[in-house]
């Protein structure tokens, strides 16, 4: 009997020691959230970046409601959220979350919660991390080829890495449709695309499947430019620049002139298919799942990047739809000597770019930082002036709104 009770005491004391050690290892930052409390800044100091437990208390009346813990990282001028989605206050009026700081410096934390007047903030708490984690966190941007090929991302990157130095930026540049498909599989932290219909589907949670469980969390406008319809200088379909896009496409279909399609689910491909679909049934390329039913003048074999489609149109004497940035770039490289802009300016050619954060992404913090940064004044200014000196006109027009 005594033997087993001795063992029990030994086990209990071992458990107590382990619990004490664990409590020291996972330090806590407490937030008081009673609005009438005096605001006291209490600093707690961390020797190295580690996992912190951020917790707080509200009144019992708030149990079951959602709060947002906001954190201001060192060197940033804005508030980020501690968790991607709002936290639920438990029945005990207690809420908490773990947080891993990616930087060294002083962090400020506060809670935003609803009250009778709308919302309000708890008192401010700060903690200081003396030493950072020593590694950079991978931030995967899934984006379209036009943002890379126009050189825009290259122009934005140095400033972004200076403002947010804790990330190891990895840009994957594929067509918009592929970028969205990759993001659905969780291989991206943030998405920059220009295919509005596909993006809206991506934001819809009901489109998640077991194989592609990730959807978009938030979607914001970043910039826009326009598409241009380019064709041979001889212009056999006799398209004029001022006429509506639908008329221009109809002329191509009626004359049976060669039209080169990228056929890769990119934003450009989606736009030209959208225009074809609007034409009267007598004329357009037959859009079915089987490519064998395309008309012979609609060249959609294989998948082509934008520059390749332009080169094909240049060599084969056909028409194609291009975004203005890649067109100007290709013209400056001298690859499209046989082509000219035959149609532009229609409102259908509007080409908006949006940034989408992905719900549950591995580095959603990086996604949030990138999304906020690219809409900030500094980035929008870079976008506004990009290309003006090289091409004589800015390639993109900034359009960020919160």
């Amino acid at each position: 009997m005594r033997h087993s009770s001795m063992r029990f005491i030994r086990l209990a004391s071992a458990a107590a020691v382990i619990a004490l050690a664990a409590a020291m290892v996972v330090p806590a930052v407490a937030l008081a959230a009673v609005p009438r409390a005096t605001i006291v800044l209490s600093t707690s100091y961390q020797a190295k970046a580690a996992r912190l437990l951020v917790s707080g208390h509200l009144t019992k009346a708030q149990a079951g409601r959602y709060v947002q813990i906001q954190i201001k990282k060192p060197g940033r001028a804005y508030w980020d959220t501690l968790t991607q989605q709002d936290l639920k206050v438990r029945a005990t009026s207690y809420y908490s979350s773990y947080y891993t700081p990616m930087l060294a410096g002083t962090f400020y934390v506060r809670t935003k919660y609803t009250n009778v007047n709308g919302y309000t903030y708890s008192r401010l708490v700060s903690f200081r991390v003396k030493k950072g984690p020593g590694v950079k966190y991978d931030l995967v941007l899934q984006s379209t080829t036009s943002t890379r090929d126009s050189g825009l991302i290259e122009a934005l990157l140095p400033t972004f890495l200076h403002d947010c130095p804790e990330y190891n930026f990895k840009g994957v540049f594929v067509g918009s449709g592929t970028a969205i498909a990759n993001s659905r599989k969780g291989d991206g932290d943030v998405l920059l695309a220009h295919s509005p219909a596909a993006e809206i589907l991506f934001m819809d949670p009901s489109t998640a499947t077991t194989a592609s469980p990730y959807v978009g969390f938030s979607r914001y406008k970043v910039m826009y430019n326009d598409y241009v319809l380019v064709g041979p200088t001889a212009n056999p379909s006799v398209i004029t620049t001022g006429e509506p896009a639908l008329t221009a496409f109809e002329k191509i279909a009626t004359a049976g002139s060669a039209f080169w399609s990228r056929n890769d689910n990119s934003g450009t491909n989606a736009k030209e298919k959208e225009i074809w679909a609007l034409l009267s049934p007598a004329n357009p390329q037959i859009e079915t799942t089987s490519p064998l039913t395309y008309k012979s003048w609609y060249k959609a074999s294989g998948t082509m990047g934008m520059a390749q489609a332009l080169a094909a149109a240049n060599n084969g004497g056909g028409y194609t739809l291009a975004d203005r940035g890649t067109w100007l770039n290709a013209k400056s490289l001298g690859m499209v000597g046989g082509l000219k802009i035959v149609n532009e300016g229609d409102s259908r050619y509007f080409n908006p770019y949006n940034v989408i954060e992905i719900k549950g992404a591995r580095n959603w913090q990086g996604g949030q930082d990138f999304s906020r940064w690219i809409r900030s004044a500094a980035a929008q200014e870079i976008i506004r002036t990009y290309g003006a000196s090289t091409f004589g006109q800015a390639l993109f027009i900034p359009d960020a709104s919160r």
Binding site: F169, K170, G186, D187, P213, Y214, G305, A307, Q308, L333
Partner: protein
């Protein structure tokens, strides 16, 4: 003809102006393919030896599978590895997608059947009498294996050369698994594809010449090692 001449001149200029990005791409190509072929050799040569010496009934079927695997399209291997390493795939927690580690995995899967098959063919060409003789002289299994591999070293080295040649020049697997990200996973072949898709054909041709030159240099070295060893041998 002139486009090739200008591209060759561009290649020389690319190497001589040698900014850090160019060397980083070349070094990454060599490191990824080099480590992949080393791992493939460690896996493939012993297995090739076992396949080559055993004359059991199942051998024909296994040889058939190895030969089929040798001819597998790299882009299909890349697709399978991508689906496995993707975050919603079975190995997603390893976070190896868009990293050189993932590219090495894909290239190991590509190179191992090649190394295995050619080593097996080389080992099976060694006369069986030699094995009997060595065993009669009191050699252990390991010593017997090493002696047979030593006899077949010309063919075994050729298998490594073939494996390296296959993986340094393939683009499908590394571009799907690695993403061709500039600064971290861009190798020579993905640089060529990126330049072509941007319309910078002369720069792509420059990279092509660099790739051919490097593959040539590596193969010259490996073939020299192969011939000196066979010269000093039997």
């Amino acid at each position: 003809m002139e486009i090739y001449a200008t591209a060759f001149a561009d290649a020389i200029r690319l190497l001589s102006t040698a900014d850090a990005t160019v060397w980083q791409v070349i070094v990454l190509s060599l490191v990824v393919s080099g480590s992949a072929v080393l791992i493939a050799a460690v896996i493939g040569i012993p297995l090739g030896y076992l396949l080559g010496v055993n004359r059991r009934t199942g051998r024909g079927a296994i040889m058939l599978m190895v030969n089929t695997a040798m001819g597998f399209p790299p882009v299909v291997i890349g697709l399978f590895v991508y689906m496995a390493l993707s975050r919603s795939g079975p190995l997603g927690m390893l976070a190896l997608l868009y990293t050189p580690g993932g590219m090495v995995i894909a290239q190991v899967i590509l190179a191992t059947p090649l190394v295995l098959g050619v080593s097996a063919a080389a080992v099976s060409a060694v006369p069986g009498d030699l094995r009997i003789q060595i065993r009669a002289l009191g050699a252990s299994r390991l010593q017997e294996g090493l002696a047979v591999l030593n006899e077949a070293r010309g063919g075994v080295m050729a298998s490594v050369v073939a494996g390296f040649g296959a993986i340094i020049s393939e683009v499908g697997a590394v571009s799907i698994v690695g993403g061709g990200i500039e600064g971290s996973t861009n190798v020579m072949t993905t640089a060529i594809v990126a330049n072509v898709s941007r319309g910078e054909n002369s720069k792509a041709m420059a990279w092509a010449f660099v790739l051919i030159g490097i593959a040539l240099m590596v193969n010259v070295v490996l073939t020299a090692m192969q011939s000196t060893s066979t010269r000093h041998g039997a």
